[in-house]
């Protein structure tokens, strides 16, 4: 029994000379990698327009079903979310929504400080989610590659000019 006590004292005592792991959070914030998955944001494309086209792929990829998007359509044919809601009380930060997003609109950022006192404050709507910038994917604009022309939009890269139906040349 004596041997046991001495061994325990030795084991614990030997830690006195090891480096300390305690993080002084929240006084000192942790440095997280850029691809750390925490709070979700909606980004904008290079012209400042909303990237989200309300395709609902994030909602369907979400394993806890905490995303709800309602589609609306602008005058020029552009789809956008009329409402975009994420329930962070349910979100498990798996990042599937980001992977599913065809427009790079939905992105997970390293800001993990989401705790709140009321569950209702954890339901984030579009105003809470939408940021001013392009996030992690600079330069991408979905409507350049979609192949569905917006009203008044000139043919983009990879699109021919509108077909002349009356032309018979091969």
């Amino acid at each position: 029994m004596i041997r046991g006590i001495i061994q325990s004292l030795w084991e614990v005592g030997s830690k006195l000379w090891e480096p300390k792991y305690t993080a002084n959070y929240p006084e000192v914030k942790p440095e997280l990698p850029a691809r750390y998955r925490a709070r979700i944001i909606l980004s904008r494309d290079p012209d400042g327009a909303e990237r989200c086209v309300a395709c609902n792929l994030c909602a369907v990829a979400c394993p806890v079903d905490c995303i709800d998007v309602v589609k609306a359509e602008a005058e020029d044919g552009r789809w956008y979310p009329e409402t975009f809601r994420i329930n962070f009380a349910r979100c498990i930060f798996c990042g599937y929504c980001e992977e599913a997003c065809p427009t790079a609109a939905i992105q997970l950022i390293p800001d993990f400080e989401l705790a709140d006192y009321a569950r209702s404050s954890l339901i984030y709507d579009k105003d809470d989610l939408l940021i001013a910038g392009e996030g992690k994917v600079p330069g991408y604009r979905y409507w350049d590659v979609a192949g569905k022309a917006l009203a008044g939009q000139a043919p983009r890269e990879g699109q021919s000019a509108a077909v002349d139906l009356k032309g018979l040349a091969p």
Partner: protein
């Protein structure tokens, strides 16, 4: 060797129906060969090259297009052969060269045949480095969107629109790989069947515009099986809902009725349920009150006894509850006496002759239409009759050895022959162009012509054209005779029955005015509105889904049960909102006497009418279900006992799931941890759940199924897999039960009133897009509905002092006058809904000109 021919698919031996193509044989054997241009109702054209399979003959393999190859006995084919698999993958890759990368902003995404086929072949990365072809899109009106960049040139749209539905204004333009499917210029697609393009198109060129405005992905909606109540045909619908809003109506395949297609009234009409024209709250003399106050007031009004006005549009359950509440002697139909008598005559005629379903009409080889404007009155039946007109073409092609599924070849080989379809109508008809004989007769002479044909068939003397028609009908293998309430004259139904009685092979199709006209007639009414006015005395009236404005009962004290806000609900003593057909389970009897169950398509609608009536009269316990009502109905009225079997009862386990497995967003609003908030609503009447819990897809019986859901196949193009054979009944039998049987005991027939002999003969003008005021309340259809007008022969109009465009008042309605030389003299054409409110002849003095403001 046995009689049934066999072939081997990937080593598995299967039997097939003789005479079909290889693709059909495979699909009927449960093997989904990838395809685009082939369609169960439109046949094969070989445009897309996707259905390639490897055929092994004498030990050598070759690739063939399965839709263009007849299935022969002893054939050996391989689907999982690397060569044909690679071939199909290349075809997809080639189709995707020009297809945009826009599934994210395409309504079809998630229910797209092209998407399914692309995923199935494994094509995921584009190798072509050329610009994609771009087309200019058109505005095709309020019903459909147009996005030509998505087109893969399968020609399904033009084959349906022009070949199947007889439309003229959609065509294919351009040359080589620049083909363009659209109109010659922007404009509304004219055909009343244009909405089907949204389902026929295997990708997203044509989409439902109304759905796009209130969009939810197909996997995100609760799909409920329903039955259309736009006319008496009773087409099966799937109504889709999300977040308490009905968003889309799609075709639900029924082998004997609607098959693959709906009319636009059926597809877009039910959306009125979401309009502002609903009666939203209970009213007492037009003032909003609480439901309990309204119920108490209604009880007080009817305490001394009331008469009941039943509705031919309301379900059997609602009408039966009213009948129980007021008693059989005070139970009247909310239609004129003449129509109530005619509905009873239709039941009597159907009970003693072979009945034709829409499928029977489609496969008939001769037809006689007595007085019906089918395109306006029962549009889906007109689409069926269009197929009848091709019977002679099909017969000639078969004689020349052209298989029936080679649609284009049949059209060429058929030499444009028209089947013996005769239309006898007072006005020019939309089907004139395809009928062999279009005869114009005055409204009162139509029945006489029918009787002359019957006389000729019996070998008696008759005029020449009647004898010619009789000879054609007698020579036919499967003739049908069509009549109904569309013309609003007595005698056509009896005349049609007389013709069928004289023809041993013939079948009879009769179209009453409304979705449940026959259900009400089978229940038996004491008469129509005029009889009700006489029998009323000083009693109050309970009006079930009937607008009494302009009827003899307009002055009565009324308790109105309505889904739609009407003049009656505004002035009623008490007005109680009830569920529309899309918000409560209910049973409807269609034109062939088939009882079909529609289920609630929204969990939060107003209470079913029978529940309100039950609360008024204490008829059933508060927790009673539809089953209890139907059980009591079967006891009371054994003729309608079959109605209870129209669908499995509400206690059936497992229940069927309305939501697809991947229904999303369920926890976006809940406050994690508080369970009751996340509980799905319970449907007491359905045997269907408001969640994804329960049986899905093929595990559900046809009556509760909202369409097939096979793994990997999500589009309407997969409907064939649920059919016993392509175009045949559903696996498990077509839903619904025929309640009209030969020799059945009939309810009391109300007396037909005598018509005034003088005055202008009223001809109902049917509008394919607007049969009922509710059709004008729903946004998409209201834009397509024609302007209600009064039509007069120019000379009659001049005699009345009216000119084109002048306003005239008749029976309280102000209508602009249209002078139409096509209308026979001595007739007046009125909107169909109004024509049912006025006598068959109206005195010219009752048409009063008004000064144009």
């Amino acid at each position: 060797m046995s009689d049934t021919p066999k072939l081997r698919i990937d080593g598995r031996e299967v039997t097939f129906r003789p005479g079909v193509d290889l693709l059909t044989a495979c699909i009927e054997a449960g093997v989904m060969v990838p395809h685009f241009c082939w369609h169960g109702a439109l046949g094969s054209v070989g445009a897309c090259r996707l259905c390639a399979v490897t055929v092994t003959e004498n030990g050598r393999d070759r690739i063939e297009m399965s839709c263009m190859t007849p299935a022969t006995d002893g054939m050996e084919i391989k689907l999982r052969d690397p060569e044909s698999e690679d071939f199909r993958a290349r075809v997809i890759e080639w189709l995707m060269v020009n297809h945009p990368h826009d599934c994210a902003v395409c309504e079809a995404g998630g229910a797209c045949h092209l998407q399914d086929m692309t995923v199935a072949t494994g094509h995921h990365a584009r190798r072509a480095r050329f610009p994609k072809r771009t087309h200019r899109n058109q505005d095709l009106g309020p019903l459909l969107t147009h996005e030509m960049n998505r087109c893969i040139a399968c020609y399904r749209c033009t084959r349906f629109y022009r070949g199947y539905a007889g439309g003229r204004d959609l065509d294919v333009f351009g040359a080589h790989d620049n083909v363009y499917f659209g109109r010659a210029e922007d404009g509304v697609l004219e055909s009343p069947f244009a909405g089907n393009l949204a389902e026929v198109c295997p990708t997203g060129v044509f989409n439902d515009k109304g759905w796009s405005k209130g969009y939810a992905r197909p996997w995100d909606m609760m799909h409920s099986p329903s039955v259309c109540n736009g006319c008496s045909v009773g087409c099966n619908l799937t109504i889709s809902e999300r977040h308490g809003r009905i968003r889309r109506v799609e075709n639900r395949y029924h082998g004997a009725i609607n098959g693959f297609f709906l009319c636009d009234r059926g597809r877009f009409g039910p959306l009125w349920v979401e309009s502002d024209a609903r009666l939203a709250t209970p009213l007492i003399r037009g003032a909003e009150v609480t439901p309990n106050a309204a119920l108490a007031a209604a009880r007080e009004v009817i305490a001394q006894g009331a008469i009941g006005i039943a509705s031919p549009r309301a379900s059997l359950e609602a009408n039966y509850a009213l009948r129980r509440l007021v008693g059989a002697e005070r139970f009247f139909a909310g239609v004129p006496d003449a129509e109530a008598a005619q509905d009873a005559a239709i039941v009597a005629a159907l009970a003693s002759h072979p009945i034709a379903s829409l499928k029977d009409i489609e496969t008939a080889d001769a037809a006689l239409v007595l007085g019906e404007d089918l395109t306006g009155h029962a549009p889906r039946a007109a689409l069926a009759l269009r197929q009848t007109t091709r019977a002679a073409e099909r017969a000639l092609a078969a004689e020349k050895g052209v298989p029936h599924w080679l649609d284009n070849a049949v059209r060429v080989a058929g030499e444009g022959r028209r089947a013996a379809v005769t239309l006898v109508t007072p006005l020019a008809d939309a089907l004139d162009g395809v009928a062999a004989r279009a005869l114009r007769r005055d409204a009162d002479a139509v029945a006489a012509f029918g009787r002359a044909v019957a006389a000729a068939l019996r070998g008696e003397a008759a005029q020449d054209d009647a004898r010619a028609v009789a000879a054609e009908l007698a020579a036919a293998e499967a003739p049908v005779v069509i009549a109904g309430a569309g013309l609003g004259v007595a005698g056509t139904v009896e005349a049609a029955a007389e013709v069928v009685a004289a023809l041993p092979k013939a079948r009879l199709a009769l179209f009453p005015a409304e979705a449940n006209s026959l259900g009400l007639a089978l229940m038996g009414v004491a008469g129509g509105l005029e009889a009700a006015a006489q029998a009323r005395g000083a009693r109050p009236v309970i009006a079930l889904e009937t607008d009494l404005e302009g009827t003899p009962l307009a002055a009565a004290q009324v308790v109105a049960l309505e889904a739609l806000a009407t003049a009656t609900t505004a002035g009623a003593q008490v007005a109680l909102p009830v569920a529309s057909f899309a918000e409560a389970a209910g049973t409807f009897v269609n034109h062939e006497g088939r009882a079909q169950r529609a289920f609630a398509a929204r969990p939060d609608g107003p209470p079913a009418a029978w529940r309100v009536l039950s609360a008024l009269g204490g008829l059933w316990d508060a927790d009673a279900r539809v089953d209890d009502v139907l059980a009591r109905l079967a006891e009371d009225l054994p003729v309608l006992a079959g109605a209870a079997e129209a669908a499995p009862g509400s206690g059936t386990k497992p229940c069927a799931a309305r939501a697809p497995r991947r229904y999303s967003g369920r926890t976006a609003d809940d406050l994690a941890g508080r369970v009751p908030e996340g509980m799905p609503p319970v449907d007491p009447d359905g045997g269907l759940s408001w969640s994804m819990e329960g049986a899905q897809g093929a595990a559900v019986d046809p009556a509760r199924s909202s369409g097939p859901a096979e793994d990997g196949l999500h589009s309407p193009s997969a409907a064939c897999l649920a059919q016993a054979y392509v175009g045949g009944p559903l696996k498990g039998g077509d839903p619904g039960v025929r309640v009209i049987r030969p020799g059945m005991e009939l309810a009391r027939t109300p007396d037909a009133p005598a018509h005034p002999a003088e005055g202008l003969r009223v001809i109902p003008l049917h509008d394919p897009f607007a049969a009922h005021p509710s059709d004008r309340a729903g946004a998409p259809l209201a834009e397509r509905a024609g302007r209600p007008v009064m039509r007069l022969h120019p000379e009659d109009a001049a005699a009345l002092g009216l000119s084109e465009g002048a306003l005239a008042t008749v029976a309280g309605a102000r209508l602009p006058v249209v002078c139409d030389a096509g209308l026979p003299r001595g007739h007046v054409g009125l909107p169909a809904a109004l024509s049912r409110r006025v006598p068959a002849r109206i005195d010219a003095a009752h048409i009063t000109p008004e000064d144009v403001q």
